[in-house]
């Protein structure tokens, strides 16, 4: 379980997170939703220690992540993968090399051939195997994103944090990513925390949804709770309406 307890974060004078508290239960697919700039990326980066809270605690099972140093965080990061909002592939390496890198560095495979076979299998899961030998600069943003997902899955993480995994993908590939996330948690027991404002994904695969608004948790609940909410902010967001109480 991932727990945020009273987490606050400011950049300069701007308060991005204000006493955010919620849990991410094991095995489920949880979504964090909110407008652009609401602090969703900042929030999930707290889990793997890329951002430190100004106040509050973040727990991963029985580890208080927010207290760990960079070295201890390495073991957290093997268990909890992060897929960045923008594909962060290494420019100087092919797709296959990108995916093989964590396998190699953490000894997941005895021989080079074994590692390459595993890397290919991971690429196949995101339908990118035919592009194994391409370099990132030769691929579109959506393809790079899928390779980045394959790379994040390389170490068989228990938790996966996805930052806007379907943004920039065409609808067909977006649904494929949704299905991949579903398969991971239904069959692999992986716990997923997904940042998104893709309404189709949200209402398609979410078990639980947390909505952030102005740095605070606005509503936590199931997709049905969100559909039926009479909070005008929530209603405006889930219906994708231009007019309403949300700031531009």
């Amino acid at each position: 379980m991932i727990s945020f307890r009273e987490v606050s974060k400011r950049f300069g004078t701007r308060t991005v997170l204000d006493r955010v508290t919620f849990d991410v239960p094991r095995g489920a697919i949880s979504f964090v939703i909110g407008a652009s700039g609401a602090g969703k990326s900042v929030l999930i980066k707290h889990v793997t220690g890329f951002v430190r809270p100004d106040a509050g605690e973040i727990w991963l099972d029985d580890l208080e992540v927010s207290r760990l140093g960079e070295r201890e965080l390495a073991s957290v990061r093997k268990r909890c993968a992060l897929v960045f909002q923008h594909a962060t592939l290494f420019d100087s390496q092919s797709c296959l090399e990108n995916v093989a890198l964590p396998l190699e560095k953490h000894g997941r495979g005895r021989t080079g051939a074994e590692i390459r076979a595993r890397a290919r299998a991971l690429l196949a899961r995101v339908h990118m195997e035919p592009f194994a030998d391409r370099y990132p600069s030769e691929l579109g943003e959506g393809m790079k994103k899928r390779v980045a997902i394959a790379r994040a899955l390389a170490l068989d993480p228990e938790y996966v944090l996805f930052d806007e995994p379907t943004t920039g993908l065409d609808p067909v590939n977006a649904r494929r990513v949704d299905r991949l996330i579903q398969t991971l948690s239904r069959e692999g027991g992986v716990t997923s925390l997904v940042v998104s404002h893709d309404l189709t994904s949200i209402f398609g695969i979410a078990d639980r949804i947390v909505m952030l608004y102005k740095g605070r948790v606005r509503l936590i609940g199931t997709p049905d709770d969100f559909r039926q909410s009479d909070d005008p902010v929530v209603r405006q967001f889930v219906r994708g309406e231009a007019e309403g109480p949300m700031d531009a």
Binding site: T48, E70, A74, R77, K78, F84, T88, L89, K105, A154
Partner: protein
Amino acid sequence: MSDAESGARDEARSASEAPLRLAGRLALLLAAIGRAVAEGELDRRMFVKSLYETGVRSLPIVVLTALFTGGIMVVQAAPIVERYGAHGLLGWGAGFGTLREIGPLLTALMISGRVGANNTAELGTMVVTEQLDALRALAIDPVGFLIAPRFLAIVTTLLLATLFADALALVGAAYVGAALLGVDPAVFYTGLTSGLLGFGDVAHGLVKSVVFGVVIALSSCHYGLATTGGAPGVGRSVNAAVVVSAAGVFLCDFFVSFLIA
């Protein structure tokens, strides 16, 4: 325009970052590299790759610089040697300046501009596109995987390049001496090896080149890692890195000259 100007101001601020604080940061980086190497975190394959790339990148510029340096040294030594009518001393006159000072200094400045700047640009780009965080997210230590290999590659390359540039500069000097002053290259080489210059002079230059390599590698890695603010930020980092490298090289030249005298 105003963007670029405020950018230039930021750059100046970061370049003139309090020298002590900067020295402290560089020392911490050096310690982190040392620790990564001592703990076997150094990625050997990345080291070989970096070494190869730095080498290939430096070669043309080192060759050009060395040949010009040899020529300049002879032209500058010529009047002094002619004044005393001692053509046999031309090799010595051009030689000691090249080996002890100009060879290591110019090679370092050129490699700082070519390899150091390039290193800052690459690391800076990786930082602003979050590739460095992506490494950490995969539980891979960026120091062992990226920084230490590049650091060692730059230091090694500069040492080898200086040795090579010394030799090439002296050969160049011999032929410029022949063309300009009519001094037979054989006489030039005799002047070099007649006992006035020894291995000590070569070693003096090589020790310096290692120190210069450390300075260039550290500042280029530091400014690359400290990059913020997109593409203009990368430009500012490169700018700051080359300025600090050049100042550091000259300062260290001063202190090392006396320390190992």
